[in-house]
Symmetry: C2
């Protein structure tokens, strides 16, 4: 052991034996079959089976295991439901995986404070259901709700379809407990809504993809359950009309707009015509499609959506539309939007971008992206679907199937993101897949500060190595250093 | 100059001469009269006139001045409107003040993205008015709006009366530019609502009271302007009834509750009977008073408040009430709540606490505080007024006028805060006045992490020395180390 207390050359075997002693046999998996199951996430990135899978069952065990890993300089990859799309939970060689699968359960619901305290490994859907059982609601919602965990959604600052009304995960976390690289525990599980006593440390751990600490518990903010919703589909000429429609809806419904999702015609035509997932409820094709959902608190939400239709038709903005008259009809409309999660096979090889720009610039950004992609022979069809009010588009670009690692498609899109001061990832996170592009969204000064924080909190670089931060010679530098 | 580039023994005179050369004569004030004006803020803490007042007029000048101060190891105290109540802008000896008074103006309003970009020195009210001029609203609102600056509200994460609906300042900032201790600039002024490309660095600077960096510009989130509000006063038996009333109001109005403020009878009786500020619109005295304001978006908000009254009377919860029938009547009701800002002289020597606890525990916390204070001979009358939905009470405790620095009153209240896992400051900030009590709201591990971040970002401790972090022998330790 050198003066830092680190044993850099100790065999992982010694560490794993010490971990097994501490966590018990049920707390450490080491068979090749077990380790293979924890190699990667849903990103499609091939991972390496970890040396062992650690399954702590308490904050104390999480702290103990990190202290042991720290002493042995053994790197860890934190894992929740492994539903991430950016490879943040995909293991490089030589690490142990730390799963929160035994850190589960809702600890407390405080109906008056409107908070829910849960272990990090609790599935998102379990939390949603526990809140609903007392007439409240946890408003972060994503397609992977059944498998994704609270800890994972916090580590990645998950977005989803209700960001417009309720914000990202960051906006729905009141308190947090996290274990640092050296095993020390930062615990702030109070239900205080307002607390200005020093730095708000929880924001270090929310959205930092496990590279600064491992989340063990959280106090979540609940909202009163919406008594029902009304849903409609609108056919519009273009994205500008969608923004106009959103502004009008805001003036009519204020904060009652639950979702406002946009579909470009490339996406619409593909899912309605090229797949069996869904079909168009409209007779014609249009330049843009919007799905709007408002809460039914007034008891006359359908009437209100009809009033929006009338106004939009009178202004010549809306060209057609469907108002859902039942839950089944609403679900059918949602299927048009949610089909994006199931197009992978039908669409063939493609890159899935998750771009954020100013909501006012989203339409023009997409036009510019289309124009640039059209010049690339290796780029095929483009599908665009997104969260209009949040300035977030999911852009699927088909390619010719060759090794995409050096593909010019990414370069073209991320250069555009840099020029538009956008986000290379709006909600899916950087993970390992986008690490080399972070420089298109962050200045050299920002990256220096981020690396400084990482060095401060995890001096030996043991937490999720390779996630978020790329090697210095990665692609981001080539592009980022060319200032716009 | 040593190997770090720092000149620790250089006379401040040399630094100030270099600063004058860089910022120009208009950028540096040095007369005793000028310096005396910038000695302190509205906290009542006696400050020391700074060695000079620096008035940068651009981000570049802010960067240059910090680089010079860094080289000369000259400490700076950042100042906005100097309306803070915790001494965060009060100067210790031997520092220069940096004011944002020449960094003013609204830079851009993007109506479609619903954002406003402004310089840090812009008064809050100027931003509010600019937003209203285009039918939008900046929802952070505090009494000092005419003088407090955007930079100051960001540095202190200002709260106010609209937190229930719109959150703290933290929730209303989309992008930020800040200058670090060494003069480097962290600039992220994009209008992206969703951006998961790495750490969300802005949260380091929001609410950290200028000890990590100096805010120069910000992109603020706007909301659609509320078309009007309806206001009512409710007389209730106790705080528990107020929580019940809030829950009922939430089920009726959802996110349309603009404010929900509570007044305990000690406060009510004092402002209505012992001051000429206002008078009670009610015939009798009650156990609790609530001011509720909802937005008038439905066009029938008064009717809706009447329905709330009816329901509360039927349930036996409400004992009396007043529904404002005009703007003047609403203003008169608000005067009852806002009078707290003007009671200082009438109430005599007192300590102004700003406590945050779980909203569900606020009533019991106040009962416990009353009981403990009753045992202290040096404590006099107590006034309590607060933000019910946020679990935030402003607790004014009269004392016998002796030197309060070692007063047992603070000790008693802050020990209670620690036991209730509360915040020693919910919205006013730690500043210099509460620095020794931060240990009652933060664990030793949290404080170690905060000090580590401070050391990382400001290794020479030049940014706002003495604010937020107290000397290690301060009172917090005595109490904090006694674990509950």
């Amino acid at each position: 052991m050198d003066s830092t207390g680190i044993q850099p050359n100790s065999a992982p075997k010694a560490a794993i034996s010490e971990l097994t002693e501490t966590l018990g046999p049920n707390g450490v998996l080491t068979t090749p079959e077990d380790c293979a199951r924890y190699a990667t996430d849903q990103s499609g990135l091939a991972g390496t089976p970890p040396l062992a899978v650690l399954r702590p069952a308490s904050t104390e065990e999480m702290s103990q295991l990190m202290a042991i890993c720290h002493r042995h300089a053994l790197s860890v990859v934190p894992q929740g439901g492994r539903t991430g799309l950016s490879g943040g939970a995909s293991c490089p060689a030589g690490v142990v995986a730390v799963t929160t699968e035994r850190l589960t359960g809702v600890i407390e619901i405080d109906e008056e404070a409107m908070t829910l305290t849960a272990w990090a490994g609790t599935p998102l859907e379990t939390v949603q259901e526990a809140a609903r059982a007392v007439g409240l609601e946890y408003c972060v919602d994503i397609g992977a709700r059944g498998t994704a965990t609270i800890g994972g959604t916090i580590a990645t600052n998950a977005g989803g379809i209700r960001v417009l009304q309720r914000g990202m995960t960051r906006d729905n976390v009141l308190g947090l407990e996290a274990v640092l690289a050296d095993g020390s525990v930062i615990s702030r599980l109070a239900k205080t809504v307002k607390d200005n006593a020093g730095f708000d440390l929880k924001h270090l751990f929310i959205g930092s993809e496990g590279v600064l600490g491992l989340v063990t518990r959280a106090v979540l903010r609940l909202h009163r359950q919406v008594p029902g919703t009304a849903t409609a589909l609108l056919a519009l000429p273009d994205h500008a009309a969608a923004l106009h429609c959103l502004n009008l809806a805001r003036s009519m419904f204020g904060g009652r707009i639950v979702a406002f999702e946009g579909m470009w015609p490339d996406y619409w035509d593909f899912v309605c015509r090229e797949t069996t997932l869904t079909s168009s409820p409209l007779a014609d094709r249009y330049g843009f499609y919007v799905l709007i959902e408002i809460d039914a608190e007034t008891g006359r939400a359908e009437e209100e959506l009809e009033a929006l239709f009338t106004e939009l038709f009178e202004q010549g903005i809306a060209l057609d539309g469907v108002l859902a008259k039942s839950g089944a009809e609403a679900q059918a409309l949602w299927k048009l939007r949610e089909a994006v999660g199931e197009v992978d096979d039908a669409f063939g090889p493609h890159i899935n971008f998750d771009i954020g720009v100013s909501p006012s610039a989203l339409g023009q950004f997409c036009e510019a992206a289309d124009a640039r992609l059209a010049t690339l022979p290796e780029a095929g069809a483009v599908l665009k679907v997104g969260h209009i009010g949040d300035g977030n588009v999911h852009l699927l670009v088909a390619h010719d199937g060759r090794d995409i690692s050096e593909d010019r498609i990414e370069s073209v899109i991320y250069e555009l993101v840099r020029d538009w001061h956008g986000a290379v990832t709006a909600e899916h996170g950087i993970g390992r897949i986008k690490a080399r592009w972070i420089g298109c969204s962050r200045s050299p000064e920002e990256l220096t500060l981020m690396r400084g924080l990482k060095a401060q909190l995890d001096p030996h670089g043991l937490l999720n190595p390779g996630a978020l931060f790329a090697a210095p010679d990665a692609a981001c530098h080539e592009i980022a250093l060319k200032q716009p």
